[in-house]
Amino acid sequence: MIKYGIFEINGGLRILRRIIWTQFIVLFALQPSSAQFGHAEDPGNQTISLGVSSDAFTGMELGYSCNPGIMKLRDMQVYARVSFPLLLTIRDRSLDSWEIDFGVNSGLVGSDRFCIIADIRFFLLHHNQVLGTFMPIGIDLSLTPAFRFQKGYFGPQFRWNQIIATHISHSEYVKNTFNGLNITEKYTQPQDGWYGSTGSYLGFGIEGGREIGTRSFIHADLGIIQFTSPFTGLIDAMSMGQVPLYLDLRFHYKL
């Protein structure tokens, strides 16, 4: 049995929402109107990035991005990233768990003070675990109506993550769950292959970024995950590893 001595999820959400909106309003009131977007403005601009995330507590990533210089979309970046869960990799002593992302990030409806940042990302993931080997393909969309200030931006983030398909090769442990049942041949083994839509979630949080010097930019996403499932809540989320929070922190360096 588990003892929970921390806040209830509903109360925590209410508090977090109030914090987010209070900060947004205060920043808006205090910041000057002269605004810049930071890292993405120059066509041909290339950056590398190093990041950490909350994936299995210690996700690490390496990325590359460039501004393709498409006319009128000067704030656009195309990027590729590779990431892996550091602590799990160390525990596992193997590189069986990794993710590759390809995406586009762009600031839309630009003005001196406001913009909308849209990010669309396709990902391929590989994970070898006790249940088998999994290769999901998915898409992640986020939208941030951001307030632009002197050296960066900040705003609430809305995120949708959808697994399109997952290839599953079940382990012997799972196959053994079908043994000893005298049922028809159709159900003698779990089915390996491509499965549709094994997961999705919605994210609500905050996104921000700030220039550091002339060649660096730091970017952060922080939020709450709402898994699209009738079976999840704080108890089962914790016991099954579905921690309902996300955090991404990235440091970009202009080449």
Partner: protein
């Protein structure tokens, strides 16, 4: 084809996309990721019982002569009867009845209100009405089922001959407040489950039960002697949603708030509490908190064992059971 690609590249992409998605397997398809339940296929031994106003199919099996006194054996949470099948050897003297509880194993999945504690007690009564309507039964429960067996004992003392409770958790919240059970969140098993949450959301019973298989191998809750070498626990299918509902109902906010001890002191029959040496709710816990709740209770200590007593120290368990069960004694 060339003309088609030239004139309609987007349409071709859409057609290919939808054709491919039509080939994708459905995670909720019966038998795709976890074995189907008895209401999804035929061929498995099943019967219908009415509990909480609903008739539900359950997966069951019996061993021995039905003329013998009945021994009901109930599995614990995140389990089914598979690991307990070796106990069928008690059929030499008893009519052994095992079943997957509603919402668990290969029995039909049910709604939240059908998984109430009262409904679980009602389920035991329904099985008694089916297999031993005129005679008291010997009831054995493990872990969560030991709690249900205790609840049944409190409500139906006349229905029971003897009761065996294998490591029930605290039958009162006050007892559980004394137990230090922390979750192992940095172990490989939990980290794997956390990483898997990026692509797997338990949106139906099939995916939930599938994911819960990983919990059995994760050592997130340390009830073991050796967390690096977990004892085997064979299952066909676990009942993930049932565990979620049962555990959620123990809590009031973030604290335990329950009392299952009503009626226990009035049971005149014999009770055997079984406790392991390694589990936080093992021998010492059972002796200190549960033994005083009954008129006539003894505690069987299983050495070198954690919570999965049946697979860890089977011989010690069966020896202790045979010493306790009336049909084996020359009383």
């Amino acid at each position: 084809m060339k003309w088609f690609k030239q004139k309609n590249p987007h349409l071709l992409f859409c057609l290919l996309f939808f054709q491919c998605t039509g080939c994708l397997k459905d995670p909720a398809g019966p038998g795709a990721m976890v074995p189907p339940t008895v209401d999804q296929i035929s061929g498995l031994p099943s019967l219908s019982i009415e509990v909480a106003g609903h008739a539900r199919m359950i997966h069951f099996t019996t061993f021995g002569d039905s003329a013998n006194p009945a021994l009901f054996l109930m599995h614990g949470s995140l389990s089914d009867m598979r690991a307990y099948l070796p106990l069928q050897e008690l059929q030499d003297t008893y009519f052994v009845v095992m079943w997957d509880q509603r919402g668990n194993g290969l029995s039909e999945r049910v709604s939240e209100e059908e998984l109430s504690y009262e409904a679980m007690v009602e389920e035991i009564q329904a099985m008694k009405d089916r297999f031993s309507p005129d005679r008291p039964v010997t009831l054995m429960g493990h872990s969560w089922s030991a709690v249900f067996a205790a609840m049944y004992l409190g409500r139906h003392p006349d229905a029971l001959e003897q009761v065996i409770l294998m490591e029930p958790f605290g039958l009162k919240s006050d007892f559980m407040d004394q137990v230090d059970i922390s979750m192992n969140l940095t172990g490989e098993g939990y980290l794997d489950m956390m990483y898997a949450s990026k692509y797997m959301t338990p949106k139906d019973h099939e995916i939930l039960d599938y994911q819960m298989l990983a919990v059995l191998r994760s050592c997130v809750r340390d009830y073991f002697c050796d967390r690096d070498h977990l004892p085997p626990w064979p299952v066909w299918r676990v009942g993930g949603y049932a565990l979620i509902v049962w555990e959620k109902n123990l809590l009031n906010g973030a604290r335990y708030d329950y009392d299952f001890t009503a009626g226990l002191a009035s049971f005149p029959g014999e009770v055997l509490l079984v406790g392991s040496s390694c589990s936080p709710i093992g021998y010492g816990f059972q002796q200190e908190y549960h033994q005083p709740l009954f008129q006539d209770a003894q505690v069987l200590k299983i050495e070198n064992s954690g919570h999965r007593i049946v697979t860890e120290q089977y011989e010690a368990l069966i020896t202790g059971l045979r010493s306790f069960l009336k049909a084996y004694r020359n009383d």
